[in-house]
Symmetry: D3
Subunit: 182 residues, 6 copies
């Protein structure tokens, strides 16, 4: 386990930002966070669309997603992160300022999304591409689909996140909300 | 240092909630957080009025306040906390639901504020009174007043929070915003 | 005609809640309201999506829908109701608190919608299933379709509601808005 | 008791609008409503600032205020009214349209407030001045002051409204919120 | 070039309103504006959905659209106009009041849109139909499609607007946002 | 009269921004705009708090203020300006991005306000101090005070702005709204 304050010697603290909806948190997220957390002193994890919950696309509240993430990261001895829920503002030209006002100062954003990349680059932030994980398997959509159809979803999700989902009755909620969409 | 997952043996995780504006984070906050953090497994610290900044009453952004807090808590080896910024909703009857949707599930709220106490109690949450610190000295208002008038404020604020304030030019900002209000 | 204050003898007043968009109010609504109004002392009828009007899916203002309902209920000698327009909040986890702040205290919600049922049950409200009417005939969508295509819609709507629709030029409005959607 | 549908013979239904905050509903309100309700077929009572509650100036939710009003009006055999909660929009030039979208069509507004009078007159609505009641006695402010100070407030409020206030613990709430303001 | 204050002799100033999204400003817009500007003393050009940008359907900010318009109109010696950005309000029944509060008083609206026509007519505004241009060629959608696919779009857009688009890197933005939608 | 496109030879167009509430537009505004308009190619005049009207502090709508300004500027042969109404966002850290999304790109902001200066400087915009006019005489507050008390206000306001105020019944509105505040 790397203690964040030991990592940079004599230099400036480097903070990175990563934005996701985490509906739910899955092994693909964990894998890429592991890598990013090793590159920076502090990794700021933004729980996007924080206002959403109880729809098939966004079943879990920001607080529930926070718990899935923090429990999984602690279990994996990743400790140099902040988790920050951010509600949508629906005005792209103002969105970077919205995010910046709510999170600690950061130096780099990790994203493979072209729009996010464009908007932060225009605002003068360094953009890095995080490594790609297998999106056909590790995607919130696929996890939700499997939950709705009683297929295996545990193998896609860190065990502590799965426990949170079960504690809050998440599978039943997703079935209620699926309405034939899966 | 108490590791949060070791504290409760065989039992349920207990999470507590504490809400403040932290404009800025001061020694009174630190003192009461130390106590609360020893009473629960996880302490959820809500940075209230997160949308505010750059006024004399609310000079710092939610992200800046987050950094003051996390740096100070780490330096004091308090690690079992979550910091969550929450923007005002300005509808008290809906506010508890607003908070609940954004933070992990919690069992108890710590507050000495009568309105907060009433609203959470009505919603079925256990209310505990945190110990009181000396408010004539330890208040955001007093710290801001001293900053505006070049009096000693460092003695009221944890050193890591003071460093954050200085890194972001916080004293100059407060002087600009004071406009004779101090 | 049952006077609401005579119905419960010696006991507590029971209030029930029913939520609809009522675009427009039709005989299916009337039928189910008759039944619910006989089960409780006061029936609170929430006009949902109250901010909407002048679209093909939501052609009528909340005020126009209110009038269709109150005129039809009076004509049917149902008097133990309140009609309350509520604008959407688009945050499901906060929605129950939003509704609760705007309507008188209630004991039971009538709904066949799974999401509504889940959200109110999570908030500790008793959920009852109202009887089902023939949705292939009695649905706002079908009424609007018939209006747009000059088919018979009067047989689906209480006469006083039809009169309101005609007084406000509702059929012409729906034709203008249909744009080939019917 | 006058049944609203019997009152106008052969003519057009006339609807009037009256706006108040009703914090709480008092005898002055009742008196003026009695008069207005006798002048029009239907009286639309708007519960303004519907989003407010749990402050000393606005202690009661819109739903609670609705109940105080409907119980008092029924007890006084005034039945030709609608009660409609409306949240503030804080843009005066748009406010009349906001109100109009949420209430049934109306022909006249009753108001002694100059701004309200100006705005509705500009929008082409007939303005009538309701009779004035003794505002030194019958005002929400005076009722709240007496509640906070344990003085007699029952004599200022219709008995059914007083019962609602007591059922919801309203006096205790006001004392909690008064904070020396009374 | 017609100076606006010279045009009406002895009479009342006539102001007209025209609403568009102008994503981007094209020759069809220019053609119809020429005609309308010759009919009234002042033409108020509302840049609608002003909050939108950086999506494929709404790629340009209100400020960027303003510049495309003003540069093109000046180059064509049309000077009797105001350009006013207006953010959506998403409540049709309130929308006319929203527009009216933000623009100078106007006498006539130019529109071929049925909903716009209905809403302004209901509010007592004279509606005129502007002449129709060839929409298969001159539409924002067609211009954006051509940009995304590297087809000729310059022939559809006034040269000064094309220069603005190139100065801000508009084609690249549209390609980034197209995501296979073109 | 200087035509904006002739002023800069061979170089880049320079645009400046100036923000005011203009309640109402007065000779102090005119004087400083004259100077600023001579320094840049295009002057962007932001009508701030555009959502406000019909209060004593903010009596006029954004559209009315626009008209006062454009009529006065034209009469003074200042033509190289844009007038853009902007509604408040009440989040200072996001405000610069809000403004930027709604106005054409600009290079310099003219302001003597410390907060505005700080926020735009932090965002990398060049700040220039416009010359100061006599604020004891030329202030919206003083003009409104004189209107409310029937003192001479015409001498403080450009004649075309005074005509707009009279055309819309502005003095009567201010008297209605003053309520003893003047």
């Amino acid at each position: 386990m790397v203690h964040p304050l030991e990592k940079t010697s004599g230099g400036q603290i480097v903070r990175g930002l990563f934005i996701g909806r985490f509906q739910p948190f899955h092994n693909g997220h964990l894998e890429v966070i592991k890598e990013m957390a090793s590159e920076v002193d502090k990794l700021i994890l933004v729980v996007g669309s924080a206002q959403e919950s109880h729809t098939f696309e966004d079943p879990f509240t920001a607080g529930e997603r926070h718990l899935m993430m923090s429990e999984s990261l602690e279990a994996n001895e990743i400790l140099n992160y902040y988790i920050i829920p951010i509600m949508d503002i629906n005005r792209y030209k103002v969105w970077v300022a919205h995010v910046r006002s709510l999170v600690p100062p950061f130096d780099v954003i990790f994203t493979n999304n072209e729009l996010t990349s464009t908007l932060f680059a225009e605002a003068g932030v360094e953009v890095r591409r995080p490594k790609l994980y297998d999106r056909s398997k590790y995607s919130g959509k696929e996890v939700r689909r499997r939950m709705a159809l009683d297929e295996d979803w545990h193998s896609l999700v860190p065990a502590p996140a799965a426990k949170v989902i079960e504690d809050i009755g998440g599978v039943r909620r997703i079935k209620t909300l699926s309405g034939g969409k899966a």
